[in-house]
């Protein structure tokens, strides 16, 4: 099946851009993929690099819009998985579905922790304002780390 072949991508190629709608999941076979916010602008920020596993899942959601751009940092090979090819691919490789779901689970848990931490710090700031108390410097440090993405 053509979509299960490895697609070769050259260093610097844009795989998909932020804001596009493209219901395809990608698996990295080799190389390095950079995930960026604001790619191509002077506010571009690299969020992460992927050398193994999957990327592009944000485009799969109903009415999903890509939340970041993916760019080949090196010559790379990826497998493109759309709705049809995903069926065959994960039927033939059920352990890969498990790996993918574990990866999504880990990311959901990690992001959920960041979300609840942000909510906790907002709660602390509200209480400090209401009571007139001073926040612990460690708490402020933690807030700044969360804001900066550490």
């Amino acid at each position: 099946m053509e979509s299960l072949n490895v697609t070769e991508i050259k260093k610097g190629d844009l795989i998909f851009s932020e804001g596009s709608s493209d219901p395809v999941l990608y698996e990295v076979e080799y190389g390095t993929i950079g995930i960026y916010k604001g790619y191509g602008t002077d506010k571009a920020v690299k969020l992460t690099e992927i050398t193994d596993g999957y990327f592009g899942e944000s485009g799969l959601a109903e009415n999903g819009v890509r939340i970041a751009s993916a760019v080949a940092e090196t010559d790379s090979g990826v497998i493109r998985l759309d709705a049809e090819s995903m069926k065959e691919y994960f039927t033939e490789n059920p352990f890969k579905l498990d790996v993918l779901l574990q990866d999504l689970s880990r990311r959901l848990r990690s992001q959920d922790r960041r979300y609840i931490d942000a909510c906790k710090y907002i709660d602390q700031l509200m209480e400090a304002e209401e009571s007139g108390s001073t926040l612990d410097p460690e708490a402020i440090k933690s807030m700044k780390e969360l804001i900066s993405g550490k």
Binding site: L25, E57, S58, G59, L60, A61, E62, G64, I67, A83, M86, K87, E88, F90, T91, P94, L97, D98, L100, L101, L104, S105, R107, L108, R109, Q111, D112, R114, Y115, I116, A118, C119, K120, Y121, I122, D123, L125, M126, A128, E129, L135, I140, M143, K144, L146, I147
Partner: protein, 155 residues
């Protein structure tokens, strides 16, 4: 392994808020409403479902149920747990894309919520460090996020 089909009558409780349950459901027939504080003061409707999956976050993330799910009609569900997970998708490979869509939607939602919360935190912290009250415009948003934290802390 055949699918495990479970049925609920209108008005039945399908899942209870705060419980840890290592399974989720595919909705085959019927519709349901999800509530926070169901049956108590402060009961709040947080969503409805008549297709797709429910409870998948509890299964995949080992998190407690975020709400109580109540059947609005007679309901038929396919129950998927650790033992039936692989066979369910082997029997229904066409559903793999559906669960991926569902999880992708959850990830997008939590990414957006986290971005909003962090943006609010940034403004609130800047005001605190300047020894100013939080800007009036974000106070309601801060209350929302504070309530979310308190609700999760209570689980």
């Amino acid at each position: 392994m055949a699918d495990t089909i479970v049925k609920f009558n209108k008005g039945d409780i399908i899942c209870e808020e705060g419980k840890y349950e290592l399974f989720f459901y595919e909705i085959l027939e019927g519709s349901m409403t999800i509530y926070r504080n169901y049956g108590k003061d402060g009961q709040q409707e947080i969503g409805k479902a008549d297709k797709g999956y429910i409870g998948e976050m509890g299964y995949i993330n080992s998190l407690p149920r975020v709400g109580t799910v109540v059947a609005d009609t007679d309901v038929s569900l396919a129950k998927i747990d650790e033992t039936s997970f692989e066979s369910y998708f082997k029997n229904h490979p066409e559903k793999i894309y559906g669960i991926m869509q569902c999880l992708s939607g959850r990830l997008n939602e939590i990414d957006a919520n986290t971005e909003d919360a962090i943006a609010t935190l940034k403004v609130a912290l800047a005001a605190y460090e300047d020894k100013n009250p939080a800007p009036h415009g974000i106070k309601e948003t801060m209350k929302k996020f504070s309530a979310i934290f308190k609700s999760r802390k209570a689980q």
